[in-house]
Symmetry: C2
Subunit: 331 residues, 2 copies
């Protein structure tokens, strides 16, 4: 019983423990002959280094703590994919916690993840409890705040301007001649970025001297079903509307389904616009007009930047992964 340890390998290879350690970590000069001998011993014993011991001795662990608000729609799994892509081939491991958009939960998870002395923390947005903020302020810790860049990052922020995306949406629809624009959204007490986009939309319209013709907010998380129902509700008020901006693609796809079911001609009678650029939008009978957020890129870029240097930059760094308007056929 008991897995083989460095000592076992060292004994078998006839070298000191430290030499084995150096071979394993590929650190410091090693004679090729010695390396081979050590590698053979490792192979023979099936040695797997004990990371707990390594972390303890080096006072740092190859762990990246990742705090995501949710895994319920594909957005954050996409970010997570990006994170894993950035981590692939390194010795680092992601340790994920799900906060359910709750800063208190974030704080609790953060405390428990910090117990591993991670090399970095990846979290979302700029809303943290004061306690969380205090923990994240520690200069020895790298911190990435993802998704949003409209704020003051602790260390680095990677994402896009949601206000800008909202504004771009408004301008796009205005340029296409739509004037009676409505908004269909979901609960943004949790999803602050949806709110930022909304504010951007309002700002964009107001620059043209306009405002939203109507709005309808579903009181809960976004979903296709919610979008479908919310659009139905909005239209039942019989206010003249020629375009609807949805809080995201899930909602927008639901809206498209409502139009299909009710025979509402899109975009002639009603234009639809989403946000995120999900694959499902492309597969609709008419591809959804939307804005592509580069979620995978956000995750990957965050990891790459964090691993680039062990130390924080002098000034908080903002990495804008941008967004693209996807023309589609619904607006």
């Amino acid at each position: 019983m008991g897995n083989p340890t460095l000592t076992d390998v060292a004994r078998l290879a006839g070298v000191s423990e430290n030499t084995v350690s150096r071979v394993v970590r590929d650190k410091g000069p090693i004679a090729e002959k010695t390396r081979r001998r050590v590698m053979d011993a490792i192979e023979q014993l099936g040695y797997v280094p004990n990371r707990a011991a390594g972390s303890l001795a080096s006072a740092s662990s190859p762990i990246i703590a990742v705090l995501l608000p949710s895994l319920s729609n594909i957005v954050f799994p996409d970010v997570l994919r990006g994170i894993h892509a950035g981590l692939a081939g390194t010795a680092y491991q992601a340790m994920v916690g799900v906060t359910d958009y709750d800063p208190e939960k974030e704080q609790a998870l953060l405390a428990s993840l910090l117990a591993w002395r991670p090399a970095a923390v990846i979290t979302t947005g700029f809303d943290h409890t004061p306690e969380s903020r205090k923990m994240l302020m520690d200069d020895r810790l790298r911190v990435a705040e993802l998704m949003d860049i409209d704020g003051q990052p602790i260390d680095i922020a990677v994402g896009l301007s949601h206000h800008g995306a909202g504004r771009a949406t408004a301008r796009h629809l205005l340029a296409r001649g739509y004037r009676r624009i409505a908004y269909v959204g979901h609960d943004w007490s949790t999803d602050r970025r949806a709110r930022r986009r909304y504010e951007g939309i309002v700002a964009g319209l107001s620059e043209a001297g306009l405002s939203l013709t109507a709005k309808c907010r579903h009181d809960g998380p976004s979903s296709t079903l919610a979008g479908r129902r919310a659009l139905a509700r909005l239209l039942s008020d019989n206010i003249a509307v020629d375009a609807v901006i949805f809080s995201n693609d899930d909602m927008a796809v639901g809206g498209a389904m409502h139009c299909l079911a009710e025979g509402i001609r899109v975009p002639e009678r009603l234009a639809l616009f989403g946000f995120n650029g999900l694959e499902i939008g492309e597969a609709l009978p008419q591809p959804l007009s939307t804005i592509r957020s580069n979620r995978f890129l956000i995750g990957r870029k965050a990891v790459e930047t964090l691993l680039e240097t062990r130390k924080r930059p002098d000034e908080p760094l903002i990495i804008d992964t941008g967004f693209d308007i996807v023309e589609g056929a619904t607006a």
Copy 2:
């Protein structure tokens, strides 16, 4: 600099290190008065236990290694949600690796995750390299193999019978009077469970003396777009077909989109059937007929069962989370 340690807390509280350790881990008898004193000291110093040290000393870590084939569609994030739900409130943490359906990658990730001496490993399916299998055989390690139960588990398996689900699909369509049934699928060299369902479909049809009227396989991962295109291709052959079974809901939703775009009446002219029971299927103009796989439950149940007892059962345990036919309106 340097975080406060057990020793610091012990000194401040005027007790021995071990007492602090026992308070922190809530283990062994502690006088209420002592506990309070220690807690105060912990609070005052902002002490966070070092898990690396703990793991080293106790030769086990509160880590659950999770190996998922993909994060690209919502299926595995759903499982992961279940895992996190099961883990919430415990001291355990999930450490996730993504294998891209590649047993070699699984093996590499497994080796690297084992370096943390996790309490358990959660992986998917029964296909592992011999080396992986050897690592998983270690009796001190709990192992859960998720998604499928048609096989011989190492320790426990949690999931559903994909063969059974395929068979149920065939029977359901037969009972509804469909006879010319086609199959539209994706690449199953990686996704073995899709293949098992296919085999179940064939078996179900064959019990009624029938076989598939036509089939079309997209050479790549499943997606809405792939489903849409594959159905178009299938129908372009002009073979009389009155129902199509898709390898999963992503593909089926794509198929539904094709029908919407082409004005094919569903289910009168063509019935559609999926697999998974995704939310998007419910939001279609006609709710998709499909089979609900209880993905969240699979993840949660796996964790709960693993944490129930530290030791493996004498006999490999199979936990059937079942499946439900979702009637829908497309078949």
